[in-house]
Subunit: 150 residues, 4 copies
């Protein structure tokens, strides 16, 4: 059994104040992305989102909460889609959790499986700073700039 | 196009201070569950997690961020599993997003598809206060209290 | 270890000749649906597809092959969609396998999670003749009769 | 609308007789793998399963049935797992359908996302003979040779 996490209030408060002061209702800058300390880097074919695990992000068992993992994987794919062909909405996402993460810097790299005009498939891998796989996601998106009926 | 969300700093700060003051490293009480204002209710076969959408939870398009949806769905299933047979770890989760949510109270109801000693399947539906479906999730869990090799 | 299946050639040949003689390129009647002996029943909200497990459908471990399970779950959802709003195409499907099936009659019941004009979500449960869950599927469909760009 | 498929009975019969004559209750050789004409090739890290689309494999809309796609993707992953660490059972599989296939030779290449002692994640890509993506799958497996409780 892992030691119960003790939350460092100063770190959480710093993240919160940073988010409050710097967020904008924009891709890459919205409040939760700021709160989790997400940093964005684009190549031609990928969007990398990296962040530092902080103890306010942990689950009751002391590992990074799967919801945070899902959040970061989601934005690595959604931000790539938006960069390449405008904003979209997630129809569905599946996340497979490969290993728990307790600290350090994690990076999710989103890329296309198939880039369509209306429907796109993306995937993203999250690794830790040693390159070990933390989680793997696939998703289906509907572009908002094309006439797709939902 | 929806109006860009303007974050109400007072609401966000209240949520943050509440989370900081009241969290414990326990199921139902950990920091992020408190930050998102999750309330838990159990029946014999379900775990219901409800929360109020607040504007700090929105994506850049002004809807509830899919990562928050995934987070709440995840805990509705994980908390049920833990209640019935001890803590588990998510092997995978898939979320289908049925409709955007912009405000109001949302409730995710987790239940078992199959409850096994080592491997369990769960599902959860999130609805808004009119009962409209927001999202549907299925997941696969590994119990931590049984000798499952990973 | 289960006994290796011995294929009954007469049963397989009967299924094959039946399929060849009776198939039509139509929903409910196409060759593979006939080969697997699928029978269709509709209620207002569901499509039930039932079939008898035969030994030519088994995997090398002597259980019903997961691909056959996926096939039947898929058609229980696709046939329901087609009945309610015209043909569609599967964007994605996820199947969770709850228990192996070795013989007897199985029934997959497809229903909607969300029925949209362009995008629909469906789910299907496969049970054996004692009502025990064999598999659970969810899927995302794009209607072909509405102007959805792919 | 695509022309309704007309089934070539000779081709179907040939596939059936071949399967009946040559199948063994073994990985790579079981009846359905033979019926669909699957050929297996292993590298150190992958299992490639290729087959020729024949018209008895089509859906009522004239494309390769998604259940056949799922079947071949499944075995490309299950056969790799079995080759590397003994037989396993699929806990779940998700397939995303990228493009319809109507004829020609298709190849599914299974590989590991994470190879564990008890739980493994795999993925597989199916492409046509021009390398165009037909479908993408991810799955979760439980090894049968390790003491995993289900």
């Amino acid at each position: 059994m892992h030691k119960k996490p003790t939350l460092d209030a100063k770190v959480a408060r710093q993240a919160f104040e940073h988010a409050l002061a710097s967020h904008e209702p924009e891709f890459g800058k919205f409040f939760l992305a700021r709160l989790f300390g997400c940093e964005f880097e684009y190549t031609n074919d990928t969007c990398q989102v990296s962040f530092e695990v902080k103890d306010f992000m942990l689950n009751p068992q002391g590992g990074l909460h799967g919801g945070v993992t899902a959040f970061v994987l989601d934005i690595s794919m959604g931000h790539l889609l938006r960069k390449k062909s405008g904003p979209g909405t997630t129809l569905e996402m599946k996340v497979q959790y490969a290993a728990p993460a307790r600290d350090g810097r994690l990076t999710a790299t989103g890329q296309f499986i198939r880039h369509g005009r209306g429907i796109s498939y993306l995937r993203s891998e999250m690794v830790d700073d040693k390159g070990e796989l933390i989680a793997f996601a696939t998703s289906t998106w509907k572009s908002l700039t094309n006439p797709v009926t939902k």
